[in-house]
Symmetry: C3
Amino acid sequence: MRVLTEYLWFNTAHREELVKITQRIEELVRKSGIKEGLCLVNAMHITASVFINDNESGLHHDFKEWLEGLAPHKPISRYRHNLTGEDNGDAHLKRTIMGREVVIAITSGKLDLGPWEQIFYGEFDGQRRKRVLVKILGD
Amino acid sequence: MRVLTEYLWFNTAHREELVKITQRIEELVRKSGIKEGLCLVNAMHITASVFINDNESGLHHDFKEWLEGLAPHKPISRYRHNLTGEDNGDAHLKRTIMGREVVIAITSGKLDLGPWEQIFYGEFDGQRRKRVLVKILGD
Amino acid sequence: MRVLTEYLWFNTAHREELVKITQRIEELVRKSGIKEGLCLVNAMHITASVFINDNESGLHHDFKEWLEGLAPHKPISRYRHNLTGEDNGDAHLKRTIMGREVVIAITSGKLDLGPWEQIFYGEFDGQRRKRVLVKILGD
C-alpha cells in the first residue's frame, strides 16, 4: 500500500469564497504514483468545507444566497456561539450543509470524476490561514 | 490489496426519484471477493446523490416535501444558475443536502450496515442517463 | 494491510444529545497499530449522526435550535413517516443535515485532525441502545 499526505493552505480575500482545487488534487494523485485507490480531501477547520459540484458562477452565487437564507450571518446575537467573542456561528452551520470532506476514487492513476464534477474548497469565515488535508491511499 | 471498480447506470422515469441500490452494491462486494475493506459509492453527477436511510415510503415522501421546501424547483428564475438555460438549480442544492457519497465498511465479506440502513440513489434532475461509481478496496 | 473493526454503543439520557467521542476513536487508532491509513466512523442507525465540529456548548445549542427550525419535531403529524407509529420523522431529516459518517486520515499513528476538530455522535431519537461503527484500515 502506498500513501501520500499533503496539506494545502488557503487564505481567502473574502469572508466567504468558493475555490476550485481539482487541479491541485489531480497533481497530488500524479505525485503519489497510485493507480488504484482512494483520495480523501477534507477541511481541517470547522468553518470551512470541501465539496464537489459544478464550476458555474451562477450556481456559486445561488449557493451563497441559499446558505445565507438557511444560516444568516447577522444579527451576530442570533447564535449563542458568538457569546464566546466569535462572529462565525453561521459559518459552522453553513459548512455543515456543504460538508467537511469528499472521498474520491482513483482509477488508472486518475481521479475518477464525472463529467461535471469539480472539487471546491468552501470558505465561510476566511481572511485567515486555514488548511485542507489530502490523503491518498492505494497501490 | 484488491480493488473492484464498477459503474451503475440510472435513467429514472421521473424528475425526482429515490432508488434502493443496496442489493446491487452487495452483489458487487461478493464479486470483489474482498473480506475486509471499504466501499465507496458516489453519484458521478452533481444533481444526484447517494445516501443511506430507511426504506419507508412515507419517509421518502417526507424527504421530497422537505427538500422542496428548502430548495423549491419553481420559479425557475429563482436561481441564477438557470440563466445558463438549465432548470435544475434546485437539484444542485437538494443533492447537497442529501450528500454525494457514502463510505461503507466491509466486514467478513459483507456490507457492515445497521439493521435499518439501506443505500439509495437520489435523483433530483432525472429522465436522462447518469452514473454511480462503486469502488471497493481491501483484502 | 491491517484492519480494526469496533462497535461503540450509546444509550443517551435525552432524545437529542451530542456526545464527544474523539478520545474513544483515538484509543482505537492506537489499538489498531496502524500508522498510515483511513478511519471510517459512522452511525449504524438512520436517526443518528457522526460529525466533526467544535466542542463548544453554545454552538451545540445553536445546532439544536437550527435543526429544530429546519425539521421541527412537532406536530408529529407533520411527517408521513410517523403514520407508521413512529414519532421520529424529524430525526431522519436532522441526521441527514448532520451526516452519517466521517472519514479521517491517520498519519504517523494518530488521527490527523485540525486544531478545533472534534468527533461527535449526534443522537436525534435517543433513549435506546444504538451503535457506531469504527473501521480502521492501513499499514
